[in-house]
Subunit: 632 residues, 2 copies
């Protein structure tokens, strides 16, 4: 009897005007479908990831005004939505005006207050303040409010009741984290159930996509619904939002679980969609089937959506990609070719004397396969000119009148090549083409700064920098086999040894390439970043000594012995990369482009870091001495 | 009778080993001076700004082990210090191991517990979570602990008591923010006083330097001491710490206020110093005199200290600075010349056809005045080569077989020059010289992205990017008049019109320069960033309409009428820069170098932002229509 519309709307962060328009349109559509209740996501009006925009008074007022518009539009039905709520009579702990992450319910043009809060809206109780989240920076929680009012949080957590055609429904209203209460010592759902089991729960969220989160969410919410014995409706937004350094996609994935926890309705990921259903007959529907797809399918969906919306959000219509013949740039090109028409995608190969005919050929073949635009711009003469200019320059010592000359080392010459490609050619070419150029770095390179600042570390977006090298390879195969269903990325590009081709020592035709051994280093670096408690050289060395390293970091067995015949080899490698990871690579990441996040820990605002240099604990040093002593 | 040593120690973030060593040395010195009590800053062992290093188990263990070393070293005296404390039996709200920002007291090798907390240390009660602070991301507050234990915070806030030569002292132990309780609805000092006035208060801090904070701190703490009627000892660290994007200096500024609130002892800013005094005779000392210095003196001290320690922390010994003849690069050069010996500082002028003889001459004169190294490397031929390469390149359309050519616009050519200077010449020159190159952007340019990415927006550190243009000018004069006491920065560099000299339209000899009118734009942009509630175009336009704009943003009266004859001129300018500030400039800041922070709101981790584009509220649009309508 109660017709409910779950609006999986696209929220544009920082655009209350556009979001309110979207909501008004959804309400009109829902009304046309005879919905009694329309539910929008958390922070549907302002968006969620806004940096410190929350400190603009006029922005807060605009959000409030848009909220009032939505409330006014609820004539003849009930609307639930997330918005920021402001109490000008009170302060946040930073001394600024009090702000809540709030859940509003409006019916017939008026707000419907929950049973027992001092406000006509529900206040978010649990505040995520980890990963990319900064909730406690901006919003006052219900727990703090309870303390301020000198009551228990339990006294304030209460259902919202509204009446439709004579029947009154009590709804347990939750905001995102309120449904993930394991670590807070307080469960809003339990508290609500203890008082009087609500007719149903509504969880409105603004929950960024992470690989695997979708499945976990289904497990958790299905269990919560079953335990409570009430249906649970989950409404999340689609779109992209960012924290500057880190760009998140939002997959929506709206869901309706019946009172036994069975998923009966599920929103297509990343689609703007409004699903209407009858609450009374929810459990009569067929269970929703979630396709079991390979990891690459999820990654491809998130990346292509993220890239498309990011381009749209910054108003960029054309893209230049430097293609080397290697796998990273090939995957980037194949990805962008699914997002842009061929005339707006320009691939450029920029050979020096160190680039092999093999890779030059592969770069061109890739462009032919994609049928986009292609150009070759050699860098050799410019690089030689730069080296000559530096070495010929007369450095005057104004303190003693002497004149010095400088020498360009071969390492410095490698970086000159990389910068010549990006900051000189790609940037100028992109400007002339009327677009931007991409950064094609993967997560392993980004982790240890195996890249040149203002060189291959530059670009307007790093679409692959949250993918380990093995995920880039998997994605390359997935693009050929499933997305394009033909070999757009030449097989030789997948098979060739990964190489920067910046010197004679990196000759792909002789099988010489990067110093990174991805099948091991992918997993080593992952343990530094993505592990629940981040691993350090001490952990690594303890696992190495105990023979449990491969198991602990998740790489294939046998690799450690294969790559590192002696403890010294192992330790040299470990220290080399730990020094890079905590040293120069941090400096590079500070100036790196935004990263499209897919993992459970992405560089940037998610994995926050200071430029403090590497640290080795006393236990590490002692174990190292033991292992090296044992060797001699 | 109680001899107290206040250790204004340098804390190296992320280096518990080095910090513990420093502390052991201080304890030995204090013991030699017959001190009974030695006090170290907050987080003296781990450092404070560490990003997510707090998630490394081994790092936490190392800090605990170092803490135990310090406790063990307290034989025969009492030591107070800040450290992280870990409770492995409990969780933080993110599910990770419980961590506290803790205040330890050790005497004769053993910890001295406060009267009434469940731990042998004091837990920080108030958690700053604004600006650059992320306390609640990592640490569990005493308020949360009280809630968990189902007691009032008042029940846990209690003094630490220790006995020296038969007399027992009760000490009110505070961690930094605990002394700044205005906005928290809970004052640890008041609570302590209500129970039983402590013999004295100790506030250990790790408080980053901000222009003006020093004076405010003296006002607040003097008042707190006087109100409580107990002496208050303030111990803060020196050194630098960073959050990646934003680098903070810590000026220490230790202080002892007597029971009437008179400042009796004050640590020299930025000095590593341990001051010993007798508590009983504290109020007999002469009041400490804090010199009244101009703003530039404070800025110079913070910047030169910050630059010196930043270079040291990243192991950089030599620096290259591109000097244009303009004031920003001249101030940067004069600043670095105070930090580095002349043979390690290389100034380089990189003229194109657009650079005047005037500015080329000024650049050289600056280098001569500083007596460092100097070189001229022209960019004209390289820039022409790049433009030719781009325009000559045959773009193959692989979808239709056609070949296209691109044109380089004059705007694109300006950016090519800027990138040629930085990413080609400066980066290669710095590598050959064995050092890094600086970014000389000021805060006004940084605010609106009046800079080129991978061009003048690059470098290893932006030492001036938290200074408005007027502060750069003031600093230029201060350097000449007070630091060098001679004209190292040529007066003509100060007098000349600011210009990027990237095109014919920017001819300094004809008085043509930047589109920024600093005397107004400095203050307009400051209102977007530094105002307590950030200003937006709506605020600006409302003030403009009310005739109160200059007063509200703090610029000189009369400027608005002078620069903008009509409302349309005013609005065009406002929208131009607001679009830049919230648009492309954000993208540039994401990839900008770390900024040395001095203001109350610096770009980076302090002023967090998302790349969401400009927003204009409905009220703004309506007021704009009114103003423009009125004009027609």
């Amino acid at each position: 009897m109660l017709q409910i519309a779950l609006a999986q709307m696209r929220v544009v962060p920082g655009r209350p005007d556009r979001n309110a328009e979207t909501m008004l349109r959804c309400i009109a559509e829902a009304r046309a479908q005879n919905a009694d209740l329309v539910i929008f996501p958390e922070m549907a009006i302002p968006g969620y990831l806004l940096g410190d925009t929350w400190e603009q008074t006029t922005f807060l007022e605009e959000c409030e005004a848009c909220g009032e518009e939505i409330s006014a539009a609820s004539m003849g039905l009930t609307v639930m939505f997330g918005n920021v709520a402001v109490d000008r009579a009170k302060k946040n702990n930073d001394g600024r005006v009090r702000k809540y992450n709030a859940f509003f319910t409006a019916q017939d043009g008026k707000l419907v207050a929950p049973d027992a809060t001092p406000y006509p809206f529900v206040v978010k109780t649990l505040m995520p303040n980890y990963r990319e989240f900064d909730d406690t920076r901006h919003f006052f929680s219900l727990q703090k409010l309870a303390r301020e009012l000198d009551v228990a949080a339990e006294d304030l957590i209460s259902p919202v009741r509204f009446t439709v055609r004579g029947r009154t429904y009590s709804v347990g209203c939750l905001l995102c984290e309120d449904g993930w209460s394991d670590d807070y010592g307080l469960s809003p759902m339990e508290i609500l159930c203890k008082k009087e089991r609500p007719d149903f729960f509504v969880n409105i969220s603004s929950s960024p996509y992470t690989l695997g989160k979708h499945a976990k969410r289904r497990r958790v919410f299905s269990l919560l619904a079953a335990e409570s014995g009430s249906p649970l409706l989950y409404v999340n937004n689609v779109g992209i939002q960012n924290n500057g350094k880190t760009v998140y996609t939002f997959d929506g994935a709206n869901a309706a679980y019946d009172a036994r926890g069975v998923l009966r309705l599920s929103g297509e990921p990343y689609e703007e969609t409004t699903q209407v259903f009858d609450l009374e007959t929810l459990s009569d529907r067929k269970p929703a089937v979630i396709a079991d797809e390979p990891e690459s399918a999820h990654i491809f969906r998130a990346l292509s959506y993220g890239v498309r919306l990011f381009l749209e959000s910054i108003g960029m219509k054309r893209v230049v990609i430097g293609v080397s013949g290697g796998v990273d740039s090939a995957v980037a090109a194949a990805l962008y070719a699914r997002v842009l028409p061929p005339e707006d995608l320009l691939l450029v190969n920029m050979p020096s004397v160190y680039n092999s005919e093999t890779t030059k050929g592969l770069a061109r073949r890739l462009a032919e396969n994609l049928g986009c635009r292609y150009v070759t711009i050699p860098i050799q003469s410019s690089v030689e000119h730069t080296i000559r200019q530096i070495e010929d320059a007369a450095i005057e010592n104004l303190f003693d009148g002497a004149v010095d000359r400088l020498a360009v080392s071969s390492f410095a010459a490698e970086n000159i090549q990389a910068r010549d490609r990006s900051a000189r050619v790609l940037a100028a070419l992109a400007a002339a083409f009327g677009g931007g150029f991409t950064c094609n770095a993967n997560k392993a390179e980004t982790a240890v700064g195996y890249s040149t600042l203002y060189g291959d570390q530059s670009g307007f977006l790093s679409a692959l920098a949250d993918l380990w090298k093995y995920q880039v390879y998997d994605l390359a195969r997935y693009l050929n086999e499933t997305v394009y269903r033909r070999e757009v990325i030449p097989q030789a590009t997948i098979d060739i040894v990964p190489s920067a081709e910046l010197s004679d020592a990196q000759d792909v035709d002789r099988g010489q390439g990067d110093p990174l051994r991805y099948p091991y280093h992918d997993y080593l670096f992952r343990s530094f970043i993505e592990r629940w408690q981040k691993a350090t050289p001490q952990d690594i060395l303890e696992w190495y000594a105990a023979g449990t390293l491969e198991e602990n970091i998740g790489c294939a067995p046998g690799l450690v012995a294969k790559y590192f015949p002696t403890p010294k080899d192992f330790i040299d490698d470990l220290e080399r990369w730990w020094n890079q990871f905590s040293g120069l690579a941090v400096a590079k990441r500070i100036q790196a482009p935004p990263i499209l996040a897919i993992s459970r820990r992405a560089f940037g605002f998610d994995h926050r870091e200071a430029q403090n240099g590497p640290y080795y604990t006393k236990k590490y040093k002692s174990l190292k001495a033991t292992l090296l002593g044992a060797q001699q």
